[in-house]
């Protein structure tokens, strides 16, 4: 039998005005198990708390009920009070007689009667309480960042600067990501490489950062603070430690059929190549599909010419297993495949390019050395049409395209138009747009500059058709403002294509048990309040993997994710939620229903030896990982035998409350 103390708070007149607190305290004295009951003006005050402490000691109370304001207000306070008097914090129950009683009722008799019932319910629940101890789990002080674009780099730098080790796993041969492919950035028009490459170098040289390039996450197990990842480092057939990045091999390579991924496949590269001049690691990689040595067994020119002896045709994929405390998803995006939009003649003419391809054409290190020339005949174009929203804002039942706004296209289109007009005033630029969406600091000013200062021809409407006519592209579109159909004979057409999550995102999401939306963007734990966390604890989101965003937003989110990671890694151990689910092994059927409704993947099954009156032998039993369980209780209801229960809100606790209320 519990020895319960009841403490009725007046809350000044907040409670006492409509609840006869003395009558409540008196009535509760008659409840079974209540050995002490009193009232006081302000229970949460120092004097009030002292009174509770003293009563606990004096009457050897095993639990207390405080009738006061909402537990959301002072439950933590009174739990601390109880702890300081030697009680378990979970032996405290609050009867909410202010927000849910005195403040809503005017009649004192009514208020008092209800307060007594609420207090009785709290006492009834407390009778079934048991001391709870929150478990702890250790934290591995290392973070894994998946993706080496600006999002991953920024998160890694911030985490590493706080003194924690970070591994960046990048699937391509170099870090840098999409930002490395950009020519200029809006709205400042500074060169993308100029601001990115120093960060890449910083990451490479950071003693706490370990870049694992040309590698992908193979599998993941464990939970927050205790992940174990297996990383597959693909064979690049170059000894990374020996290669100096001199590039002799890339010059000697006789194969010239590989398509240069970095330049959006606009030009060819050798079978052995370094993606771009500032690549990190600055190490070559061999494309085995193109390499003559792998295809014919001959050649080997690169090997003969490598003074460092770095070429290793025998190299194999390598599996790296490491432990991590936190994981950051920064897998970024790719432009959608424009070939589905044949009305824009993307498949018919090389002069119809996507914006990212155009970005490479405009870039000084790109396939045209920054010369604005048409891919088909290398002639200088005089009239360019940009079509916005290609593949964005489509209905979901449309086979092609995405339902969302890709967010960055309006701005990069304004940038492209401006850059062209700046460098080549002779070139006419027409932009077909549905809405110019430019919310962001200095964004609308930037767009207006394109219109006003650079005289870019913005046409409100969409292009219906692009047809190749001789060496021209006949663009037919609508001008909604002028109520006419326009026809433009353009030399080049740029498609501002939608962006979509990297194709690896879906399988990664499954591996991490991180939830994703129908578009394969990672879902945040709470759309407003936890925007950089994934629902499973210890998984964080950075950059476009979570949703379309531009560079400043990406960097901001990367920093936010890093702050969350640091907050986690700086703890030596994690205190788990004490109110977690728990299996009664004697009666668990092992039927796997609870696992299906657990939003966190906290439930696993193991074969255990059970000795109970009903069963002796080995049986499949549900096990709750207390470090992962958040205590929602979904499992408890799905369990037909009642083997799964929730500590702090057990079946018998809640039923006791029901009984007391209905008494």
């Amino acid at each position: 039998m519990q020895k319960i103390g009841v403490f009725v708070c007046w809350c000044g007149s907040n409670i006492a005005a409509t609840v006869d607190v003395k009558a409540v305290a008196q009535a509760l004295k008659n409840e079974a198990g209540v050995v002490f009951s009193t009232d006081y003006q302000y229970m949460c005050s120092e004097n009030g708390q002292a009174m509770i402490r003293q009563a606990i000691k004096e009457h050897q109370l095993t639990g207390i009920v405080v009738c006061s304001c909402s537990p959301r207000m002072h439950e933590a306070t009174f739990r601390k009070t109880a702890v300081s008097a030697g009680l378990n914090p979970y032996m405290v129950e609050i009867a909410n007689i202010r927000e849910q009683c005195s403040w809503i009722h005017k009649d004192i008799a009514e208020g008092t009667e209800k307060a007594i019932v609420l207090a009785r319910a709290a006492v009834a629940k407390l009778h079934k309480n048991a001391p709870l101890t929150a478990g702890t789990s250790p934290v591995t002080k290392r973070a894994l960042v998946i993706g080496g674009g600006i999002a991953g780099i920024q998160t890694a730098l911030d985490v590493a600067d706080a003194g924690f080790e970070v591994d960046i796993v990048e699937k391509s041969p170099t870090i840098g990501g999409r930002m490395a492919q950009l020519d200029k950035t809006f709205p400042t028009l500074d060169c993308s490489a100029c601001i990115l490459t120093p960060k890449m170098v910083e990451a490479a040289q950071h003693e706490k950062i370990n870049i694992i390039s040309y590698a992908e996450l193979e599998s993941l197990s464990g939970f927050v603070g205790n992940f174990t990842a297996t990383i597959r480092k693909k064979a690049r057939f170059i000894d990374e430690d020996k290669c100096s990045g001199c590039g002799v091999c890339t010059e000697k390579c006789p194969s010239r059929k590989g398509l240069d991924e970095f330049n959006m496949k606009l030009n060819k590269r050798g079978a052995v190549y370094i993606p771009f001049a500032q690549a990190i690691p600055n190490v070559a990689v061999i494309d085995a599909e193109q390499c003559l040595h792998f295809r014919t067994g001959k050649c080997g020119l690169c090997q003969k010419n490598c003074s460092a002896g770095a070429i290793d045709f025998e190299q194999k994929d390598q599996l790296i297993e490491r432990k991590y405390g936190a994981i950051v998803v920064a897998t970024g995006f790719k432009p959608i495949d424009a070939s589905a939009f044949n009305e824009y003649a993307y498949n018919d003419s090389p002069d119809v390019v996507t914006s990212l391809e155009f970005e490479r054409i405009m870039n000084a290190a790109g396939p045209t050395k920054g010369q604005l020339i048409r891919p088909s005949d290398l002639k200088h174009p005089h009239e360019i049409v940009v079509i916005q929203c290609v593949g964005s804002r489509c209905t979901e039942d449309k086979e092609k395209g995405k339902p969302y706004c890709s967010k960055i296209c309006c701005m990069y289109t304004a940038k492209h138009a401006m850059l062209v007009r700046e460098k080549y005033p002779d070139v006419k630029v027409h932009v077909f747009y549905i809405d110019a969406r430019t919310p962001g600091k200095n964004f609308d000013e930037f767009y207006r500059r394109a219109v006003e200062q650079y005289d870019v021809d913005y046409i409100k409407g969409m292009v219906g058709k692009v047809a190749v006519e001789g060496d021209k592209l006949h663009v037919q579109g609508s001008d909604l403002l002028n109520g006419e159909q326009v026809h433009i004979n353009a030399d080049m057409v740029v498609l501002a294509t939608a962006i979509e999550p990297d194709p690896t995102a879906r399988s990664l999401g499954t591996m991490l048990t991180a939830s994703m939306d129908t578009n394969d963007f990672f879902t945040e734990a709470h759309p407003k309040l936890r925007p950089v966390e994934s629902p499973p604890a210890g998984i964080f989101l950075s950059g476009v993997a979570q949703g379309p965003k531009d560079i400043p937003e990406t960097v901001a989110q990367a920093g936010a994710a890093a702050a969350k990671v640091i907050g986690l890694l700086c703890k030596n151990e994690l205190t788990c939620n004490a109110c977690v689910a728990q299996t009664n092994e004697a009666i668990c059927n092992g039927c796997s229903q609870c696992e299906k409704v657990c939003p966190y993947g906290a439930i696993t099954y193991e074969d255990k030896e059970i000795r109970s009156p009903e069963f002796r032998g080995i049986r499949r039993i549900a096990t709750v990982n207390e470090a992962i369980c958040q205590g929602c209780g979904a499992c408890t209801v799905t369990c037909p035998s009642g083997a799964m229960d929730l500590k702090g809100f057990t079946n018998s606790q809640i039923m006791s409350e029901v009984d007391a209320i209905c008494r």
Partner: protein, 130 residues
């Protein structure tokens, strides 16, 4: 359709099976239209005016008979609004009304033309009269 022969936007929506509220007025339909210059109202306006309930204006439009029913607008529409179906539905509501046949048999001889496939006349009859 109600007995008073008053055609409402709901009638057109029902006949066409189109959800005009999905239209975001991007104008791609009108950009794709091969007969744009011949039409007084354009595909995107059919969606827009229908949204506003201005069926009368649509019914008075000569675009009903200039639309080639090529369905380019429907096919290109990023939001599955299918303007061609709206035009078709409005046209149907017009020619179903008494004395509103757009094409009658007695006008056929004047249209006969060596280069014009007769099949076209047959289908025009089907399309423009009840």
């Amino acid at each position: 359709m109600s007995l008073t022969n008053k055609v409402t936007a709901e009638d057109v929506l029902r006949i066409s099976g189109v959800d005009a509220s999905r239209c975001m007025q991007c104008g791609k339909c009108s950009g794709a239209c091969p007969n744009y210059d011949e039409m007084d109202l354009h595909p995107h306006q059919f969606a827009a005016l229908l949204r506003k309930g201005e069926v009368e204006r649509l019914m008075e439009s000569n675009a009903l008979y200039q639309c080639l029913s090529c369905f380019a607008c429907s096919q290109r529409c990023p939001r599955n609004v299918e303007p061609a179906k709206i035009i078709e539905a409005v046209r149907l509501t017009v020619i179903r009304q008494k004395g509103r046949n757009y094409m009658t048999a007695d006008r056929l001889p004047e249209k006969l033309d060596e280069d014009l496939p007769q099949q076209a006349l047959v289908s025009a009859m089907r399309k423009y009269s009840k």
